[in-house]
Amino acid sequence: MTGARRKLLTTAGAWALAAACGVLFSFPVLNTVLTSLKTVADISSTPPKWVFAPTLEHYANVFYAAGYKFSQFLANSLLISLACSALLVVVCLPAAYSIVRFGIGRARLLPAAVSLRLLPPVTFAIPFFILYSASGLLDTRTGLVLVNLLGNIPLGLLIFVSFIQELPQELEESAFLDGATAAQALRHIVFPLAYPGIGAVAILTFIWTWNEFLFALMLTINKATTVTVGASLFVTAWGVLWGDVAAAISVAVVPTLLFSFFVQRYLVRGITLGAVR
């Protein structure tokens, strides 16, 4: 087998695997989008209908007919997720740099921060509610940004630590010799080199925050309600309004989809390592 043919085969195989998984993985979401366009009778028809007269009634319910401020929920989620995603990089990247390069906080702070991920959130709703009531953070977007930040610190720290320790130290050392400060080294050398890690962390944090349910439920009353909690308002004591929930999900997926589509471009190296070695 020649090299070229072999390469073609592996490429085809790679594409086939990715496409198969893509279809399998996206099925629940695509099916949801279809459901959102069906009438109540069509949703419960068997066999499942693939061709049907679409209706927008569920979207009308979501946006105004049901009486919920859905666009405000969307705006809340967008602001909270963007802020959380950006702040997480700002908080965790320098911290990870310190941990890797100076060894500060390796022994205590890192395990303490990472152990946040170990806690099952259910029982923490009450102390957080008390803390937030006392500090005026209850039912505010700031409050939700902070609590989501806390939940994603373990992810951000671990991924950044993994990335930074793979970067060649020589670059920074030569920068220090030239009189640069650690802040400059971080800004001009580490930051661009860690682009793929930053991209991954930003996407995962955005998605996590967007989807977070329990704290968003417990720590809001009606002003800072997020879209995930808003969508769950279409679950009633008397069954699920499938079409309305599906429409709410379909709308809610769009911003995350756009965000991850555009941030994907950072999933490539900032500068080629080989060129500077």
């Binding site: 965790c92 170990l118 029982t123 989807n211 991850s260």
Partner: protein, 286 residues
């Protein structure tokens, strides 16, 4: 270099402040509650009962059942998600037509909240009106995937579909940052694809593989939303995870003290794999 170290402390300041301001009170509160007979009705006037809550949890057969289910669930889904995620990351780490589109398609299940995805699966897996059930039955398979004996595997499949994109994204980002020369050098030395993967790529990817495994492992162990919605831990206690056990103890039986004792025990239990994972993620520099 002294000055750099000082700046290093400044780099850690925001993180430290966040932890002190937000995490210390709720964290200590868990330990405090775990020593009280606090229930939802008597939350503010509890009695100190020492280690009684711990004794109660540790002698509860259902606690062990829940932990055992969570462990089994975690081992299976994390293994599948790592293998599949890595395969996808390798498959996409090359020039491909329509790659950004494919990556977005692969990330789709992550973008729906587990709560909402669980709710939609109640429809998709419904015996009579569910799309999946219909085609499974048409193909001669059982259509009632949420009943025993299939239900644990159904839940695991849902987890794999939703969370493989998570491991994929982390590993894909890792592959994208691996320098070219080690790989090129290996090719020059005549190494084949598998050898490159085994001896060059995987060692370089090790910290991220561990990170992905650790984060997914912890989250899978804590799984709550999807299972609570699809089976509420049943039938009986068949699919009760550790988090569902904690939830039911706290909010249904109303024993906040006992629930927090369970949380502290789980915390101690999970901190063993955590410290091992951190030790292996950190390379021995500097």
């Amino acid at each position: 270099m002294v000055q750099e170290r000082r700046l290093g402390y400044a780099f850690l300041a925001p993180l430290t402040l966040l932890l002190l301001g937000l995490a210390v009170f709720p964290g200590l509160y868990a330990y405090y509650l775990s020593a009280l007979d606090a229930s939802l009705e008597t939350f503010r006037s509890p009695r100190f009962i020492g280690l009684a809550n711990y004794v109660r949890v540790l002698t509860d057969r259902e606690f062990y059942g829940a932990v055992a289910f969570s462990v089994r669930y975690t081992l299976i889904v994390v293994t599948l998600e790592l293998v599949l995620g890595l395969a996808l990351a390798i498959a996409l780490n090359r020039e491909l037509r329509g790659k950004r589109f494919l990556v977005s398609l692969l990330l789709l299940p992550l973008m729906v909240s587990p709560v909402l995805l669980g709710i939609m699966f109640r429809l998709t897996l419904n015996e009579f009106i569910g799309t999946v059930s219909y085609y499974l039955r048409a193909a001669g398979f059982p259509g009632n995937l949420l009943a025993p004996p299939y239900v644990p595997y159904t839940l695991m499949t849902v987890d794999v579909v939703q969370w493989t994109p998570f491991t994929f994204l982390i590993l894909y980002a890792g592959l994208r940052s691996i320098p070219d020369e080690p790989v090129e050098a290996a090719i020059v030395d005549g190494a084949g694809g598998w050898q490159i993967l085994r001896f060059v790529v995987l060692p370089l990817l090790r910290p991220l593989l561990l990170t992905a495994a650790f984060l997914r492992g912890i989250d899978a162990f804590k799984t709550f939303d999807t299972i609570q919605i699809l089976t509420a831990g049943g039938p009986g206690s068949l699919t009760t995870t550790a988090s569902i056990y904690v939830y039911k103890t706290a909010f249904l039986t109303g024993h906040l003290g006992r629930a927090n004792a369970a949380v502290v025990i789980l915390l101690l239990l999970l901190s063993i794999p955590m410290s091992r994972a951190i030790r292996h993620i950190l390379r021995s520099t500097p």
